[in-house]
Symmetry: D2
Subunit: 405 residues, 4 copies
């Protein structure tokens, strides 16, 4: 805390924790605070944050409340989906992909307001601190970052609430006790972790889920939907054109209804430990499967396999917070190049937790019934070519089998 | 056909097609035929193949009928599962992984019987011809391979049946018409392709499925199961020790009942075209998820991420028929090295097409509740370390952001 | 030869072999031939090819002689150099990179002249046939390709010369005997293989080299040169701005003089066998080292390491003939993205086979003397940050070391 | 420094810096010090370190002086060379590969002597601190590591010498002034960095080199040598069997004489900055080229290309200090698997900085003159096979070219 800070932009939700942070920044750094509250589709009202911020002395022109939903889906979620990114085989990166956008706005607002620092409410054990800070430094190498959870001595819930009460911060009744788990939400997903989830042998209790119905309670009748893609991105649902955020929201409704996108995972954090999380990504799971479906008929094998080989690294970069790193941008350039012809229509069946691709078609399809048919193919393919193909592929193996003979 | 062949070992199912091939080999090459019929768990009786072969003049000592189920699962399926292999993101390689074992036996029997050639019934359009032949050449570089479908002029079903009738090969009534699709089955999966599946926009008709109930007809109550792993391989189900093939068979029963493991896919063949297939891998799908589950708590991050990066290439090698290639063996050496501590227990919930990991535990768990806890961790982890960690990870990004300033 | 060909564009050097091919095409296919002779910097006069073609009855408007040197270096060599591509660790791909350009022109000329086929003089054992044909098919899927060496029965040198004499093709005296090796040359390199080089234990005889002096005969005094790069491409030598082809030619002169860029290699051909080649890439070797030199101070670590990981696959694609495949283009998109700031100046010392980078500077340098200095760095870098950095990088290894304790 | 330390094992060279550290540990931690001095072939006498340690009060049984040369080359250098590892394309990792061995002995000695900590003399800006500490933690997760350079306040050379004088540590006259650069040496290489090397545009002054003659001063006559390999490791020089360390030492003599293995590099440190180093790896450079040479005729293409793809990651792991991480061990398992048949003989020509492979032979050679020959190959290879090979490799490209037509 040796550096003197004049003005800091805080990622502010309006909740108890970030309100405590706001006050703590004022008290500890004696600096002016700018609040930034983002609508990323987390499903909470944001205007109450304004009143709270004003109450804590923030100047009206220093209270930023932004609707970032379209930017979030268009510039972050969709590009990531083009890569079929899943961390450790399964996780759709719902939290990871939101952090760089928040940092981007923090740094922009710092510039607009002449602030010299930004602050966030992530703890010192998690990945989010890394994601916030790497993004901030990449966008402004001179910015200072304050991470109160790594600095202060409010080590327990009680200490936090004491601080709140001492500083006239209203403590909602339901925040007095400890929450049985911690959550993060945005238009792509809700994650839950901690407390009741900390024993990875114990099944996730049903009350932890908030974004999806239990598949057992989902409709007994399947529902079929159709998604249109253009150049790698979803553009319409059931024939109706939609913006990125609108499409994802509509898919979320469908996924919720059919119990799709629940994931119980033990994952490896960048900071070196394993953690157990529960993710609900209803629309994202449907979208991800649909995207693979349209790629399956429009993407060349060489491109598809290269994408599959690059994906784990790409997903790891996003998970670890390197969205604004040049190697992520290089991979994105390669991936985006591949999507030029990923255009067409996918049909999916939604049923009790399953989102299955059942049909795909495209004016740019590479699938050639003429070549693949068991019937007479009218010379499209000469089976005798396969003999030479196999012979030359086998040559090195034959020479190897003779090695040393 | 310039090479003169004295004796050929034929992969013989006893069905119409391979019976025609048997006769065609006798007629065309004037050579002695040895038949090899393998039990890979395809669920058909094999003894009828003996009688048919005898009827076509094969000497009793030249009729091989082998039960390869344990070898198949132990030495092919399980090693592949250690890699979490899925081709093009989804396909569990059920057909691909069986071919090298069949070729291995063909080559062994050729040696035992002094045969100079082997023959198979795969067509010139598919991957199986490649898999059979690359494996055969890798194991015996001097072996000759006969692929009748690439050589003969029996271009239509009618021609085939004519040939059969002209040569006193009994044609079962249900084989007179054309099958509406083509299948391959073994203990790991059943695949279907062709005909009614050739339009990738049309949903797979229900009558194509043979190994799983429709999820809609599966039980309304979830079933929980427990699988034990030792050093990367499954060893017990619900506390009962089982051999590899027994375990996979038991999981197949469970998967069938709960409608698990159906996959409708457009994939890229090694010979250059796209094809649409339908796969049912009931036990394999459960096993694959369980294996990832036990890895999630016992495998180090560095090892896990390296495995994820290597997997697409590993899966492609198996799909393309390079099981016996040195690069597959190198990858296997790396993968097997990683499995030394992949020991423990996974709990899964099976319900209407879903196989979800809900719990995992291990005496060798790397998950440290002490480190990850939101509670006081008694100094296990010093949050201040994260500041330095982030600073040094950010350094190159900061220097980059200043580049050219 | 069942397809009837009306007009074919032949890659024609004017030499004996392609003259025989020209005639053979006329005789065998009874088709009209269009000749295409490219100046890729091979250092031979091209106009004699015109007279020869005319003599063999080619219409003047069907004789194409193009100077492709600038296109070759600008659109093929330089993009490849941006990737630091070396096949199997060493080979700078001088032949591989020229083939797609020749195919591109063959296909363009086929379109201009209404030809339905193209033809080349590569044998059935080598990589060049693959490179020519994959490129041609990728650019025009309906084009027919004629590869006389795979079709005709001119199995020996004698047969070839007989055919020439019978068809009034002049046979130069020095072509009567067999050449002791075979060569290919362009602005990037000269390759030699075959005959006297076929025993990989025997040292390459000195008379095989044509583009470089023996290092032992090179000047006893080193020469220093300076190359400027802009956005990843060389733009000036010793302060003098040069076009791509001019720059490469000037570096070739320097490399020749100092005996730089000789490579004696046993490599793996795409068709499955090993072959031994001798390459001389005088200017290319200097350029490649200079490019790595400028990258070393201007390219971020993440970008540089990603490039290094992608390079072997990229080089393999070019070697195997997949220049016009989408996966090569995807990799190129990633690589090109990385080169935006690869601008600056490299100083090299040339001396008896060595081309050593001895200095590099850039207005966009990422090298920070302030950070790296052993002296007081005025707070640029806080050594205490390293403690946290190491602690968190070690955490997973510590947990692993405690596994099972 | 909150932890109380009872006994610490110090990596002790006997020089001024580590003598100051020894005393500083005694003074600051009030703990007993065990010294460990390793002979890694750095070419300095080690016995003087014993007397110095005794003078500073170290018990005789707590003074360890070990000759680790054979272990170093056999278990660290050679395994790394099997991978053809070069960091950032060039650096042979001479410093990186020595650190894990030193840490291994530090941890072993700590166990033997009941010490609870280890200490090293690496600064907080470099990679070595990371390498020492990651290795130590991986081998003993409970060990404490003391890195005085990150802790103390001896910020300048003057402060260090003051501390030495105040504590009766003899300061050699030539250490009073500042060294113009800093070095590290072992049997594999000598590295130099800092001070006079800090401007990457300035050529390295000749006085920095200590392990190689200037190529300009090397013999005017080339020297030919022969190295034998068995299963991937060098076993003999010019027909004379040698142990690993003896072989490397002999190659060092040859490399020194011919000016081989100088490298001037700007590299990316793991801690985030670029640094400029000068490396001399005379024997290592010769050995590395010879190893590639023997691989070129004995290693299958699939294995070789997989090795090339894995190498950058493998080299990065060693550079970053992850020798004892499971992912390095996995890669090593794959690499070692590939070396089973890497047996044979390589001939090299050494001349003024160049070490060129000019011949290679092996009883296990995969090079088949019969297949590759331009002459009649007696049917070893059927050129017509290439047509089918190309057709099927082209099929996807053709379908792609027709996409959307």
């Amino acid at each position: 805390m040796s550096d003197s800070i004049k003005r800091v932009v805080l990622a502010y939700s309006g909740g108890l924790d970030t309100s405590v942070i706001l006050k703590w920044l004022q008290v500890t750094y004696g600096c002016e605070v700018v609040t930034f509250t983002a609508d990323l589709g987390q499903g909470e009202e944001l205007e109450p944050a304004r009143a709270k911020a004003e109450l804590m002395g923030i100047k009206p022109e220093h209270i930023y409340i932004d609707d970032l939903r379209e930017e979030f889906v268009r510039d972050f979620v969709f590009p990531m989906m083009r890569a079929n990114a899943r961390y450790e085989g399964d996780y759709l990166l719902g939290t990871s992909i939101a952090r760089p956008l928040i940092s981007k706005r923090l740094v922009e607002i710092a510039k607009e307001t002449g602030a010299d620092a930004v602050a966030h409410g992530a703890t010192g054990k998690g990945n989010d601190q890394v994601r916030f800070e790497l993004s901030a430094y990449a966008l402004n190498p001179d910015i200072k970052v304050i991470a109160p959870w790594r600095e202060w001595d409010l080590a327990s819930r009680t200490a936090l609430i004491d601080f709140a009460e001492k500083n006239q911060i209203p403590v909602p009744k339901d925040k007095r006790g400890e929450s049985p788990f911690s959550t993060d939400a945005n238009l792509l997903h809700t994650s839950s972790e901690g407390k009741v989830l900390e024993d990875p042998w114990e099944e996730t209790p049903d009350y932890v889920y908030s974004r999806t119905v239990n598949p057992e309670d989902a409709p007994d009748t399947p529902e079929y939907i159709i998604i249109d893609f253009e150049r790698g991105d979803g553009v319409a649902l059931n024939g109706q054109a939609m913006s990125p955020a609108t499409l994802l929201a509509a898919l979320n409704d469908l996924g919720r209804k059919h119990g799709i996108g629940r994931l119980d995972l033990v994952e490896n954090r960048f900071v070196g430990m394993k953690s157990r999380g529960m993710y609900e990504t209803p629309g994202g799971e449907i979208y991800a499967r649909a995207h693979r479906g349209i790629e399956s008929i429009t993407l060349d094998r060489g491109a598809a396999h290269l994408k599959d080989e690059l994906m784990p690294k790409y997903a790891e970069l996003i998970y670890n917070g390197f969205w604004f790193a040049p190697e992520r941008e290089m991979l994105q350039a390669a991936i985006d190049h591949s999507q030029a012809n990923v255009t067409g229509t996918v049909r999916l069946k939604l049923y009790k937790g399953n989102a299955s691709v059942v049909g795909r078609k495209s004016p740019l399809s590479l699938y050639s019934e003429r070549h693949v048919t068991f019937e007479d193919d009218a010379g499209a393919y000469d089976q005798k070519d396969a003999a030479g193909f196999i012979k030359l592929n086998a040559l090195r193996l034959k020479l190897l089998a003779k090695q040393g003979q």
